[in-house]
Amino acid sequence: MEVNFWDPKIETMPQQDLKALQLEKLKKVVTLVYERVPHYRKKFEEAKVKPEDIKSLEDVVRLPFTTKDDLFVDYPYGLLAVPLEEVVRLHTSSGTTGKPKALFFTKKDVDAQAELIARNLVMTGTTRGDVLQNSMTYGLFTGALVMHYGAEKLGVLVIPAGPGNTERQIELMKTFGTTCFHMTPSYALYVASVILNKGLDPKRDLRIKRAYLGAEPYSEETRKKIEELLGIDVYNCYGLSEMGGPGVGFECVYKEGLHIWEDAFLVEIINPETGEPVKEGEIGELVLTSLNREGMPLIRYRTRDLTFFFTEPCACGRTHRRISRILGRADDMFIVRGVNIFPQQIESVLMGIKGVAENYQIVLENYDEMIVRVEIDREFFDGRIERLLKLKEEIVEKLREAILVKPKVELLEPGTLPVSEGKAKRVIDKRTL
């Protein structure tokens, strides 16, 4: 596999040096917000912590978390760490209710994020001479603009297509020989199906080599499907406006987890209930501290996104740790017999068992009983009861290993449970306390 670097020194920096660099930057950013942002000073005082208390990276746990709610205190300019005249860019992130989150960037911040994008593009094989069709929404949303600046920085020809108008998207691809595109996964699936329905042969009529898909979570199956339909490589990218937009985490050519740039972000994965760090490799909520931002640095920002760290070093040689694709939202968590459980943990176990169909349901009943209802795969049934009893036993055992709670398992006929439409109701809590 060909491995390319944009900034080999940083990208392959030994973990020890990387940690030293992080500590130095952490001290700086903590001092900056303490001195310049009244809301942070107040939060630090409440937590009885001062910048000089940060002597090692482990001390980060003494710092208070930043949540979405903090972004609306002294709204909109209250979290600025620089005078307004230093700020050159506003992005917003749609809140589900009311006001949007407002994020500000200085010239240096915009450039730093573009730098990360350039790294990401090179990491996946994109170089000068490539033609990138940027089909995310241009505007208040970070998705398109941040990618745009990063691609230009690398020296790639950018087609600022924006989203929608599928006919035109395909026309642009054909006319200008698009070699990569940046889209949401759901739109990419749609565009791919239109390309094929028009009778186009992606290999012959188009020049696309790879796609960058992000801004919404998607499964490995969706990735493979798009890759097969178009005969291209699909790379998962992760980002959030609060951390500067896309490019925070990105897959390398091995496509096994997303490298998070640890020279730019301090990464923690915590138990969303207790706020304590989870064991390495366990699922938890991603918490990020921006280490380079000067306009509006955020300390221990709770993304609400669920992921886990890969514990093995990556074959590409990059030392920056990898997280899994986003598995869901921290709000999905439930507690059974004192154990925190995410539906995603159960899903990943079930999907790895032969004989299980796609749909499942978790029912919580009185006395903290957990029942996992699983539809069986039609093809798996051969008329023998032993086979089903073994399947049931296997499910119970593998779930117990993964979540430390022994569930009851019920096998169901396929088609019994409500069909999953994006956010199917997976957990039914009938417990009354």
Binding site: G383, R384, I385, L388, E410, E413, T416
Partner: protein, 139 residues
């Protein structure tokens, strides 16, 4: 070939299931020759020996049931004390493990058959053939 075919249906333990299944068979004029129900608490398996197994299989499949069609063996039992014992003794003397069984009383009411599924049908058939017991031939 000395073979019968058994329809197996996976069912959740819910009221009205057996009713729905037998109604389907009745409406398609498929005759039930024998059946068995195995219960595993939250689910069960209903097995049928019918006069038109292939048709029944397609019928259940078309109606969304989880269904399988498996070969089975049938051995005639003598209508006298010890009839079943003799048959089972013979089967086990050949080292064959009975996975599941039901009884079929032929239309004439003169003959009864012990119908059973085994792990390896071909192998079991070879062992049982030409041993003085009459094997049932329905397929």
């Amino acid at each position: 070939m000395y073979k019968v075919e058994i329809i197996s249906i996976f069912v959740e333990n819910k009221p009205g299931k057996l009713e729905k299944i037998t109604k389907l068979l009745a409406e398609a004029y498929i005759n039930i020759l024998g059946f068995s129900i195995t219960d595993a608490r939250d689910f069960g398996i209903i097995k049928f020996l019918v006069d038109k197994p292939k048709e029944a299989y397609e019928l259940f499949k078309k109606n969304g049931f989880v269904v399988a069609l498996n070969p089975a063996l049938g051995i005639e039992m003598k209508d006298k004390p010890g009839g079943l014992y003799e048959v089972v003794k013979f089967i086990s003397s050949k080292g064959i493990n009975i996975e599941n069984a039901l009884v079929y009383v032929a239309e004439s009411r003169e003959k009864a058959y012990f119908i059973f599924e085994v792990e390896n049908f071909e192998e079991a058939l070879k062992k049982l053939k030409d041993n003085g017991f009459e094997l049932l031939k329905l397929v």
